[in-house]
Symmetry: C2
């Protein structure tokens, strides 16, 4: 150990050690190599876990790295290896509900954990406005920066997505894309989930089941509406346009949608997100409607609020965290094994029955009766 320190003094970076004693010198591979008495490439081999190094040399190199606190330079490594070990997460402007709905934070968390598990660095691109789009797009397309891209699916008019997909870097779309031709994506089974939710209401005996949809144009919203319609059709029910209201995945839009729905006297509502369900329930309560006696609710997402609010929300649980982890693994696969042909993964969801749908009360009365 003493010998090591002395040798350090003879390195090119010595003066740094001398002048600013508490700051680590900016060591290079070459420095470590000299220290150990081997060639640069041997040190590189042990760092990269190559098999062709004798155990004895390997140990000495590792010891030197430990002692000196050496870290390889990321830029140099990227340049030489043509791999940055970095992936990007792109959230288009159209998902501006970004941080009002807990969905995206949780998704981001899942992706971040996925990156941790795989020794990847995550870059976050949040598009705030049209200007941002112009500035972000070249940053993302710059070669040598990102090994792969996770792109959140948004509105059809998001040109950004189209541009990025064509940018040569392996991409995976989060959510069903508007134009799914030739691009891989990962999604949850929104159609079946919404169908399950609606059928649950149907099974409970509700007659006038309304729905509050997400932004028209987004594939999530479309798929959940399809599920709702399918359930009704399967049950032989007719569709009533007065029972379909459009929201945009915000609380206030759920509130407004519910107010527009009330005249049509729904006895149950399937909302395409918990946040909207929450707004809708607020509107119902304000109108002196009892939940679930006068009007029952089922949401979508299973955000924390769903189980915390006074009237606990029956909802569809999305495996958001798992979704993020899976997305990272899928992208890695795409990077390593090529993006063609395009593939996709559809993940299952789960119905969580709580109070707002009235199942428990109905169950009780049935037991009582």
């Amino acid at each position: 150990m003493r010998a090591l320190s002395l040798q350090l003094l003879s390195l090119s970076n010595y003066f740094l050690v001398g002048r600013i004693p508490f700051i680590m010198p900016e060591l290079t591979l070459e420095d470590i190599a000299k220290l150990v008495g081997v060639h640069r490439s041997t040190v590189s081999r042990v760092i990269n876990g190559s098999a062709n190094v004798s155990p004895e040399v390997r140990e000495r190199v590792q010891e030197a790295i430990r002692q000196t606190g050496y870290h390889p330079n990321a830029a140099a490594r990227s340049l030489a290896s043509q791999r940055s070990q970095m992936i990007g997460l792109v959230l288009p402007h159209s998902v501006s509900s970004f941080f009002t709905d807990p969905y995206f934070p949780q998704l981001t968390q899942g992706i971040a954990y996925g990156c941790n598990n795989n020794d990847l660095t995550l870059s976050l691109f949040l598009v705030g406005n049209k200007q941002d789009e112009e500035k972000i797009s070249p940053r993302i397309s710059r070669r040598g920066l990102l090994d792969g891209l996770l792109v959140q699916s948004g509105q059809p008019d998001d040109m950004l997505i189209q541009r990025l997909i064509k940018s040569n870097v392996p991409s995976l779309i989060l959510g069903r894309p508007n134009e799914p031709d030739g691009v891989s994506f990962i999604d949850v089974d929104n159609v079946n989930a919404a169908k399950t939710a609606t059928r649950h209401l149907l099974n409970l005996g509700y007659q006038r089941i309304a729905t509050i949809t997400g932004n028209k144009g987004s594939t999530v919203a479309a798929d959940r509406l399809t599920g709702y319609k399918n359930a009704l059709a399967d049950a032989g029910r007719s569709m009533d346009a007065a029972l379909i209201a459009e929201g945009n995945f915000t609380e206030i839009s759920g509130y407004n949608a519910m107010r527009s729905l009330i005249p049509a006297k729904p006895d149950a509502v399937f909302a395409a997100s918990d946040i909207m369900a929450s707004g809708a329930m607020r509107a119902a309560l304000e109108a002196n409607l009892r939940i679930p006696e006068d009007v029952a609710f089922v949401g979508f997402d299973d955000i924390p609020l769903a189980s915390l609010s006074k009237i606990q929300l029956t909802t569809i649980r999305q495996p958001i965290l798992k979704f993020g982890l899976k997305a990272v693994e899928f992208l890695i696969d795409l990077i390593e094994n090529g993006t063609t042909p395009a593939r996709n993964i559809i993940m299952a969801t789960e119905l969580v029955v709580r109070d707002s749908c009235g199942a428990k009360k109905i169950g009780e009365s049935q037991t009582a009766g």
Copy 2:
């Protein structure tokens, strides 16, 4: 344009164009240079906005770049310039309330927008567990990856923070650090904000003002508690330990804290976060206490929920988005002008009066009387 395409064919990357017609060739500076008929460094100059280029050449180069869709290689640029144009945002494990509280998502958004404004790329490091810490730390310290670091202040036992600060890359702590020696930070004026909140309750005539604190050990929690105590002391009130309950910035902790507080019969509560205030109000309602008649509430943060819930919350508004933008600018300053001596920025907050504190009702009755 046609001439350009023909010339392109003679470049080293031509075969790529030939085989995979729809994929852009991996152009280099050299390719653009040959195309225009100038030297590589001239192209570099126009890309980097150097003044020393004749307008005519500049225009020709820019045209070629536009036509070819050339983007400089990020790794090569970082390596040569010793600047990556990337900063990191590190969220230690101790802020695991990360995505249950809208605070952090909003902060992240502010920082992301700050990066957009300054042509910076943002890397996100979310520490999920102790293992992550070991894996993330070397990634962050790798030279050549990050120009600077934004580190969220957390618990005193977060060794990660200490390690990062010493890692040689310019760092800025978000929130008052536990050991502020020699490191720059940016924070909101928690002490004064909490004092303002408490004084507001005092001025309204409440006699038994309780507080729900954040995690013991975090500086935010400590500062807000100090503000509460200061306000009481300034008003000549004695401190009652039974009126201080500890939470941890989660909804459920606010709920539990309130339940433990109820026997002490507080007539007002200052909660150190809106989320906790929300949990506390839930507990109060459950105990058949009216808000604000039986017990008044003031929160902290001004999250969207505060103005959306049935009983609108009086709270302290933090300029979270602005805070994030400011943090990025501060960090840039630190990167460009050095980190010593350490400096800090303290941002002001604002009291937002709504229904939960009873000010309006008291105002009405005063007006009436």
